[in-house]
């Protein structure tokens, strides 16, 4: 056969690189910019521009101290619990609901307005309402996490279904697929890319919800840790707690992105 065959090599699988598919020069540039930022921070802390800005080294030391302390791990455990509960709820409700909305267009058209509204409004405004009705518990911060992330997860699952290639739908119909087979074998895999993007958006929103809720609820999790450090003027501890929270969020997001790469390896590079 004289047809040309485009068989690309396994892309982005080389383990040696720091970041998948990124050139060494780009990695150097990134590391350089991080180093510059840290140096600027160190200078800002030493210049005594504000007593509330600790130096990078002080913050790092406080961070190491925090990592070795019980209250930090307890706080992280509590926060992790609300995050896990809220996200689990958002996934359990959002994905089936979004897929259903895509499959039943009338339902989708009717419900999408509410989700678009939930995405548009500043969700933080509902926090006092949640606290008022449910009190200050792990469950109320889980609910807030849910409210922050569920609309994104739902709308992306919905968009994913509407992304189904009409040619594949016709193919399945021509092969006499049942509605169930069509859903399981065509709709779900077709919407997977959008669905995973939704999960990632949802997770980053969940972190925002979690931290905002805990700062307002105060006797909980890392929010409490941050508030305590603030009220006791331990700014190095405050910065370290914030930094560690950000790092935890980044680690989870990166893990999700890896999962995405794993599941969607069939996509054209």
């Amino acid at each position: 056969m004289s047809e040309t065959i485009g068989v690309p090599g396994r892309r982005g699988r080389s383990k040696g690189r720091l970041v998948q598919g990124v050139e060494p020069a780009a990695v150097a540039l990134r590391l350089g910019s991080v180093a510059a930022l840290l140096a600027a921070w160190e200078w800002a802390g030493r210049s005594k521009a504000s007593f509330a800005i600790p130096t990078f080294t002080q913050t790092a030391l406080a961070g190491v101290d925090l990592l070795g302390s019980r209250p930090f791990w307890e706080a992280l455990g509590t926060s992790g619990q609300s995050l896990a509960m809220g996200m689990a709820g958002a996934v359990a409700v959002g994905i089936p609901l979004g897929l259903l909305m895509g499959t039943l267009p009338t339902l989708g058209r009717y419900l999408r307005v509410y989700f678009e509204l939930m995405i548009a409004i500043p969700t933080a405004a509902v926090i006092p309402l949640v606290i008022l009705t449910m009190g200050i518990t792990v469950r109320s911060s889980a609910l807030i996490v849910f409210l922050f992330s569920a609309p994104f997860i739902t709308m992306n699952a919905y968009a994913g279904v509407r992304d189904v290639n009409p040619r594949l739908a016709e193919m399945a119909r021509a092969f006499a697929a049942t509605p169930r087979q069509f859903f399981v074998k065509i709709v779900v895999p077709s919407s997977l890319p959008m669905l995973l993007v939704g999960l990632r958006y949802g997770l980053s929103r969940a972190f925002v919800g979690l931290v905002v809720a805990e700062l307002l609820l105060s006797p909980f999790g890392v929010g409490k840790l941050i508030m305590n450090a603030s009220s006791m003027f331990q700014y190095d501890r405050l910065f370290a707690a914030v930094g560690l929270t950000i790092m935890a969020a980044l680690a989870l997001l990166a893990a999700l992105q890896r999962l995405e790469g794993r599941l969607l390896h069939w996509r054209r590079p």
Partner: protein
């Protein structure tokens, strides 16, 4: 569940009786009647928008006629069925899974056990000359090879009628000619009824026993041309035959009046 036996099933006759279809303000088809014999290879040809694909999809059971009816082996078409399968213009392979699973997909939908459907898929992958590409993803194959996979998927369900919607429209001429000969070879081994839609006059004449010429808006059957050229056509050097050229010119004479 029907498993694919090694031998091809008996081909079926297709009767189209007074079929009409309107899309909005466009009369896609008007009073089309024709009969395609069991085991025959026919093509529908006509200018863009003449309703040839619409007619093919009606035979497939994907579109319902507004008037008239279509009978397959004497039974009216109610919808898609296991006796027919379709090869799509843009291949319609699932990008997220291997060629092997794509080719076996029709059988998977019918609940054929995995080992059995994979064996059938491998057999047809070999027939369309894609052996070695079972584990590749569709995007790793060229356009012509994707079409071959689409053909293998259609054949793997062992249909009695094979319907092909401009499958070679977007492949280069060289690939197209190789594919045409391979298609005829497969058809020669397992005589199914084949309905092939194309806008290439050479292709229509080269492949068919009969060519159906269809006019655009309203889509009507204007002429049926017999192609009495010997088979297998590759072995007889039909492309160089003066009779072949004359028939292509006859198709052109009719089509140019329809523009």
């Amino acid at each position: 569940m029907t498993a694919a036996p090694a031998a091809a099933p008996e081909a079926l006759e297709i009767r189209v009786e007074g079929v009409s279809k309107v899309f909005g303000a466009v009369q896609a088809l008007e009073g089309v009647s024709l009969t395609i014999e069991a085991g025959e290879f026919v093509t529908f040809i006509g200018p863009s928008g003449c309703g040839k694909t619409t007619l093919l999809k009606m035979i497939a059971g994907l579109i319902r006629p507004d008037a008239g009816r279509i009978l397959i082996g004497g039974r009216p078409v109610e919808g898609p069925g296991h006796d027919r399968s379709l090869v799509f213009q843009d291949h319609a392979l699932m990008p997220w899974t291997s060629i092997l699973r794509n080719v076996a997909f029709g059988l998977e939908l019918r609940g054929v056990p995995k080992a059995e459907r994979q064996a059938a898929a491998r057999r047809y992958i070999a027939k369309v000359k894609l052996t070695g590409f079972e584990q590749h993803y569709p995007h790793q194959l060229s356009g012509g090879m994707q079409q071959r996979a689409g053909l293998a998927r259609a054949l793997a369900v062992n249909p009695r009628i094979l319907l092909m919607d401009e499958p070679f429209a977007s492949v280069d001429e060289q690939t197209r000619r190789l594919f045409q000969d391979d298609l005829l070879a497969v058809w020669g081994e397992e005589r199914r009824t084949v309905v092939f839609v194309t806008h290439s006059m050479e292709e229509a004449v080269y492949l068919s026993d009969r060519v159906f010429l269809i006019s655009p808006r309203p889509g009507r059957l204007v002429e049926v041309l017999e192609v009495p050229l010997p088979r297998p056509r590759a072995d007889h050097g039909v492309r160089g035959d003066p009779g072949f050229t004359r028939l292509v010119e006859r198709v052109w004479d009719t089509l140019k009046k329809l523009q």
